[in-house]
């Protein structure tokens, strides 16, 4: 067989379309950001308006102005838009019943994510910046949320007090500072305004080690609102050597299924040049490799 010929080509028609009194009025109104429906002989409202309803009856020619919002009756999420689609990013097609009407309008919903789409959802109309008297004078619809944003923002001054200042100053220098009440002999990290046993200030500052015993822990596997770290991660209680009260920090540097109570752990400090007045100077605690502490040695701290 001879080599068969093949070539690309484009078919294009520069059609114009007459609109008439019903469709024409509707489209013309869109230029002025006015949304209208037409009434039928049996008292329904159609938007977009038609010359005839589905029973073949002429509509009345009477127009009513509508609120630019509606309800999604069916939808389809398009993750990869085609060239002819109204968006080049993911969007939804939807049949939208405009409030106060009895039919549905096909249009696009700019929802960002398929998870925001559902049948029955409320949407509001978004007008296009450039109008040309076509259905695309409506740029799209967008989800209407049944709640208002209600953020609270208040500005304060933090003053951690004498004892906590001593603790944070210690961290600034790579040290853990605890406070001891000479009467009880207990060391609290951070130091406290009062030893809960004696009621005295823990005014005698002592440095405790950055090594200690992991007394208990939890592994966080579920995401939640406001989460900073990506799950899974481990959070543990560590009684530092020389302290009588645990501090809480991340446990890492070890497979999660090897983390256990009694494990000896050491603070993993950030590089010194990054230190601030913060417990965040420590990235996490990691195993020292020493033998585990006996349960008896830390059970009073659980």
């Amino acid at each position: 067989m001879t080599d068969l010929l093949s070539a690309p080509y484009v078919l294009e028609y520069t059609y114009t379309r007459s609109t008439g009194p019903v469709v024409g009025r509707f489209l013309e109104s869109l230029r002025y950001e006015v949304l209208e429906g037409v009434t039928t002989a049996d008292g329904r409202v159609l938007c977009p308006p038609l010359e005839y309803d589905e029973t073949g009856e002429p509509t009345t020619g009477e127009f009513v102005q509508l609120r630019p919002s509606g309800t999604v009756k069916s939808w389809s999420w398009v993750e990869q838009p085609r060239k002819a689609h109204p968006f080049d990013r993911p969007f939804a097609w939807a049949l939208i019943q405009i409030d106060g009407t009895d039919n549905a309008m096909l249009h696009a919903v700019d929802a960002g994510n398929a998870k925001r789409m559902n049948t029955g959802m409320r949407v509001r109309l978004r007008w296009a910046d450039e109008k040309n008297g076509s259905i695309r004078d409506i740029e799209c619809f967008e989800p209407m949320l049944p709640y208002l944003p209600g953020p609270v923002r208040l500005e304060y001054e933090v003053r951690p007090g004498e004892h906590y200042t001593a603790y944070l100053r210690g961290l600034e220098q790579g040290k853990f500072i605890g406070g001891r009440d000479p009467a009880s002999g207990k060391v609290y990290v951070p130091p406290r305004a009062a030893d809960p046993v004696t009621g005295n200030p823990t005014g005698e500052y002592v440095e405790v080690a950055d090594v200690g015993v992991l007394t208990t822990f939890t592994i966080i596997r579920i995401p939640f609102e406001g989460q900073i770290l990506k799950p899974p991660y481990c959070f543990g209680a560590i009684v530092l050597d020389g302290a009588d009260m645990p501090i809480y920090h991340l446990i890492s540097g070890v497979p999660y299924d090897e983390i256990r109570m009694g494990m000896r752990v050491r603070a993993k400090w950030k590089p010194k040049e990054e230190w601030e007045t913060s417990l965040e100077n420590i990235l996490y605690f990691e195993p020292t490799g020493e033998p585990d502490a006996a349960f008896e040695s830390y059970k009073e701290h659980l």
């Binding site: 068969l4 078919l11 489209l27 389809s76 097609w93 096909l106």
Partner: protein
């Protein structure tokens, strides 16, 4: 009313692309085969009618060019519908009722391989309210499928099971395009094209051509031992605007089925033209087809969908089984338009 029957059917295998052929080269083999099978030539044909759309090849008057695939001189009585060939068959059936001729040749051809079919089909949408938005055919069908899910009429798994069953049945059909034993769970892992429609819930885009010979009364009995008599045939349509319809049902298919007499006797098999899996479920309900009916033994449009031809092939597949005697009473169905807007239903019966 005159008895009219399908007496012969020919088709080209549906494939992704029939590269070497232009329109007449698709038409010539199937029309000549359909006539030859019953010993006829074009000179014996009283009326010739075709169905196709120029927008598939993007070539204005391609339907006129297609007549070059026939022996059309001296001039023949000829007509064309810009629809599936099954609607050309409907016109030919009406023409035969006039009583002055006894035979008709119906043919159609469709090549999906040449252009952007989902976008071409946007041209059948409302030119004021929908076309400017660029609604492709898959997204339009997706709105219907989602409406079915919302109405709790079907699940995505139901859609996948329809697709799997059709393609499995197509394994016996040498003319089918996509066939095999496909896994329902694997289908449900496919990404959405337009949610909730995944690729496997859509029919393939095929190239093909088909032809049918109709004959009336004794002429039909003379041509074949067991003609597939058209006992009833009816075409109904629904509003154009998608927002004006209950997309989860097909009142037009239901009414056409009643008028064609589907419920007046036991149905052995049905060839339903459902380009998307969920549409078979709507059609079964509308036509009242129970579990005992063999739906799409050929694999249906989900196995081979040459646009403008897939509907005529449904008539041919159903008729062939009646002619062969493996079915006594069969339903043939064809749809057109967006989301099953138009439906043509016929009941074919043996003697």
């Amino acid at each position: 009313m005159r008895d009219v029957a399908i007496v012969s059917f020919a088709q080209l295998p549906s494939v992704k692309a029939i590269d070497p052929s232009d329109e007449p080269e698709l038409v010539q083999p199937v029309t000549s085969q359909a006539m030859r099978q019953v010993g006829l030539t074009q000179d014996d044909i009283g009326f010739t009618c075709s169905g196709s759309t120029d927008y598939l090849p993007g070539r204005p008057f391609s339907f006129v060019a297609a007549v070059d695939g026939l022996k059309a001189w001296p001039p023949i009585r000829e007509s064309h519908v810009e629809m599936d060939g099954a609607f050309a068959l409907f016109e030919a059936w009406v023409r035969l009722l006039h009583g002055d001729i006894d035979t008709a040749l119906v043919f159609s051809f469709g090549r999906c391989s040449l252009g952007p079919v989902p976008d071409v089909l946007n041209l059948q949408n409302d030119p004021y309210y929908v076309q400017p938005l660029g609604l492709d055919s898959i997204s339009a069908a997706a709105l219907q499928a989602q409406a079915m899910i919302d109405a709790k009429k079907a699940t995505e798994r139901d859609f996948a099971e329809v697709a799997a069953r059709n393609r499995k049945q197509a394994m016996d059909n040498p003319n089918a395009h996509i066939k095999g034993d496909f896994d329902v769970d694997a289908m449900l892992e496919e990404p959405y094209l337009s949610s909730p429609i995944r690729k496997s819930f859509c029919s393939p885009m095929s190239d093909s051509a088909a032809a049918i010979v109709l004959a009336a009364g004794d002429k039909a009995r003379e041509l074949v031992k067991r003609p597939a008599w058209i006992r009833g045939i009816d075409h109904r349509t629904e509003p154009h605007a998608l927002g004006q319809r209950d997309l989860t049902a097909s009142p037009s298919a239901k009414l056409a089925g009643q008028k064609a007499g589907v419920g007046e006797g036991k149905i052995d098999l049905a060839e339903l033209h459902a380009p998307f899996a969920h549409q078979e479920l709507i059609l079964r309900e509308a036509l009242g087809l129970g579990e005992d009916v063999d739906v799409n033994p050929s694999g249906g449009a989900l196995a081979a969908n040459s646009l403008m031809t897939a509907g005529l092939i449904r008539f041919g597949e159903a008729a062939d089984r009646v002619i062969a005697g493996s079915a006594n009473r069969a339903v043939a169905h064809t749809t057109s338009g967006v989301c099953l807007q138009q439906n043509l239903v016929a009941v074919l019966e043996g003697e």
